[in-house]
């Protein structure tokens, strides 16, 4: 249930003496590394009792990828975005497993498998059901409300993914080494969060100075 905090937090605007500002000072960057030491649990799948053959091999989702974001965005950061992103379905796995976007982004759900997939979500920020579609086809969903959207395939119970929809642009997804970088952060005090596999795991407080610069902030997710 901790994941449900994201939409509220992402919408919040920092207030008080340390209120960050978008203009009038040099912007800084926050970078670092998220080390995931916990062993990701095996993908959930219902036992294939009724099958007549061994299930086809499938990829395992990369559940070590994390998203780092500012809990309270600077004032004036809530501009409209109309970007586009892709979440592919490949070897019965959503790729990427975690997709972070800004509100207003349209996500293309492509199907690169030779079987049907049926992407759906029952999450409050965006309920949708794309129906069944075959290889080479793609269907799109626009995400307008911030929050965490859990995505599933109706046909393959082991397929799941996360889409994190932010009301601002101050977030980053970690790379293969766990590194992240959030640029153009206005001076001010922020709560920065490392999110991994469905939960906000670690929280830190950082301050970007008036002269900008680069802040280092590492996380260890256990």
């Amino acid at each position: 249930m901790r994941a449900a905090r994201l939409p509220v937090l992402a919408l919040a605007v920092a207030a008080g003496s340390a209120t960050p500002r978008l203009a009038g000072a040099a912007a800084g960057s926050i970078r670092g590394r998220v080390e995931v030491t916990r062993e990701p649990p095996a993908p959930q799948a219902r036992p294939s009792i009724g099958e007549l053959s061994m299930p086809s091999p499938r990829d395992l989702p990369n559940r070590r990828r994390s998203v780092v974001y500012l809990e309270a965005a600077p004032q004036g950061a809530f501009e409209e975005h109309e970007g586009r992103a892709v979440m592919d379905q490949r070897h019965e796995t959503f790729v990427p497993y975690v997709l972070a976007i800004t509100a207003g982004t349209t996500v293309d759900f492509t199907n690169s498998d030779r079987t049907y997939h049926n992407v759906f979500s029952l999450s409050k920020p965006r309920r949708f059901d794309l129906g069944r579609y075959a290889t080479g086809q793609s269907k799109s969903v626009r995400f307008d409300r911030p929050g965490v959207v859990r995505v599933f395939c109706e046909i393959h119970s082991h397929m799941s993914a996360f889409i994190l929809v932010f009301a601002h642009r101050f977030f980053a997804t970690t790379d293969a080494d766990g590194r992240y970088r959030i640029d153009n952060v206005p001076p001010g005090a922020y709560t920065i969060v490392a999110w991994n596999d469905g939960e906000a795991r670690e929280t830190r407080t950082v301050r970007v100075g008036e002269d900008g610069g680069v802040l280092e902030q590492d996380f260890v997710v256990r």
Partner: protein, 391 residues
């Protein structure tokens, strides 16, 4: 159970050799739980009964499933079910082995999923868009495996009362007991099966202890059933299946009670065609099953044809509508009052809605109307709701 254990033991030799190889993926263990509860009015016409006590319209079921990949190409699978707080029983328990890494060839042994048709392998609660079963997989005819009708009149007087059958001039068990469905979807058979192919064409074949209408863990007549299915998938979303099965269905006890000149092997033989087409928000399914039972005391075999067609359409995220049409017809015999079908033909229409508020919960409501050309109760409408929770 001994037969299944022997088969499983034989398969374990192959499994041991396969398991000796290092696994390419981490070994995994998956558990599944499905709890379903259907609440409906009393079915006074016994249209939905699967035994004398149990109806699919008033059924609480707890199902525990497990799959253990002991190696990359060896898995053990099982399911235990408890219905209406009765005694838990093993529904499935088998080993699955893929002997060759690069060949789509699989062997399963134990209490195995049926290869015949399509419905039996679907999960009842969450894969069935409605609450009732198709008639061919559930409706109890007036034919039994532990008793045989002595004359055509025995069948005429029991028309439309398959939930509790006793033949006035029959042979074998003289107690009143439920009859047989065309295909029993509530129990799986014990035996061994092979499956070949993973592309547009797949084939499966099995040798099992019982028959489609009377699956068995322990053989009761010395005869085995051979069943097979070929599935063709010309395009994504379309599956066409053709099935066949033949096996002795009468128990040794009833055969031994017959006059010596009538003793022998009496088979149930069945053919099936199943079709599934899905696209976008639609799934359309249809099955036709023709079954024929040889009977020792009657001139002709008894035949039955089951036909079902169903459709499901998602109308909103989490909400679908579904409907099914069903018919079960029977061949005709010469009764005291002329030619008549040996059991009363049945028609069923069922339509309903399913709503998924969260991923692991499905709530259904369905209206079902049944008609029967015979029996005490000839028509019955039922409004039933069902809640399914799975993990």
């Amino acid at each position: 159970m001994r037969g299944a254990a022997l088969l499983a033991t034989a398969l374990s030799a192959i499994a041991a050799a396969v398991a000796a190889e290092p696994p390419a993926e981490p070994r995994r263990f998956a558990l599944g739980v499905e709890l379903s509860a259907a609440v409906g009015p009393e079915d006074r016409g016994f249209f939905n009964y699967t035994s004398y006590e149990d109806s699919t319209q008033r059924l609480a079921r707890l199902s525990l499933t497990a799959e253990w990949h002991v190696a990359e190409r060896v898995a053990l699978l099982g399911e235990v079910r408890d219905e209406n707080l009765g005694r838990p029983r093993v529904y499935a328990l088998y080993a699955r082995v893929r002997p060759w890494r690069d060949r789509a060839f699989d062997v399963q042994a134990g209490l195995i999923p049926p290869v015949f048709g399509a419905f039996s392998r679907r999960r009842y609660g969450s894969d069935n868009p409605l609450i009732g079963y198709p008639l061919a997989y559930q409706y109890l005819t007036s034919l039994r495996s532990d008793a045989v009708p002595g004359t055509e009149s025995d069948l005429v007087v029991t028309r439309g009362s398959g939930w509790l059958v006793r033949y006035p001039f029959g042979w074998g068990n003289s107690d009143a007991e439920p009859g047989l469905p065309l295909v029993n979807a509530l129990r799986w058979d014990a035996g061994i099966q092979v499956h070949v192919g993973s592309g547009p064409l797949e084939a499966s074949a099995a040798v099992t202890q019982g028959t489609l209408s009377s699956p068995r863990v322990r053989d009761d007549n010395g005869g085995k059933q051979v069943s097979a299915r070929v599935a063709w998938k010309p395009v994504v979303g379309l599956v066409v299946g053709v099935s066949g099965a033949r096996g002795d269905y009468l128990s040794r006890e009833v055969v031994d009670s017959l006059p010596p000149e009538r003793r022998g092997h009496y088979a149930q033989q069945a053919w099936g065609v199943d079709l599934e087409y899905s696209r976008d928000r639609w799934i359309l399914r249809s099955e036709a099953i023709w079954s024929r039972w040889q009977t020792p005391m009657l001139e002709r075999s008894l035949g039955a044809l089951g036909f079902t067609a169903e459709g499901r359409c998602k109308v909103l995220p989490g909400l679908y509508a579904a409907a099914r049409l069903d018919h079960l017809g029977f061949t005709r015999i010469d009764g005291p009052a002329g030619r008549v079908s040996w059991d009363a033909p049945v028609w069923r229409m069922e339509a309903g809605l399913g709503y998924t508020p969260v991923r692991h919960v499905l709530a259904k409501v369905a209206y079902q109307h049944n008609w029967r050309d015979g029996g005490r109760v000839r028509e019955r409408a039922l409004l039933t709701s069902q809640l399914v929770v799975w993990f």
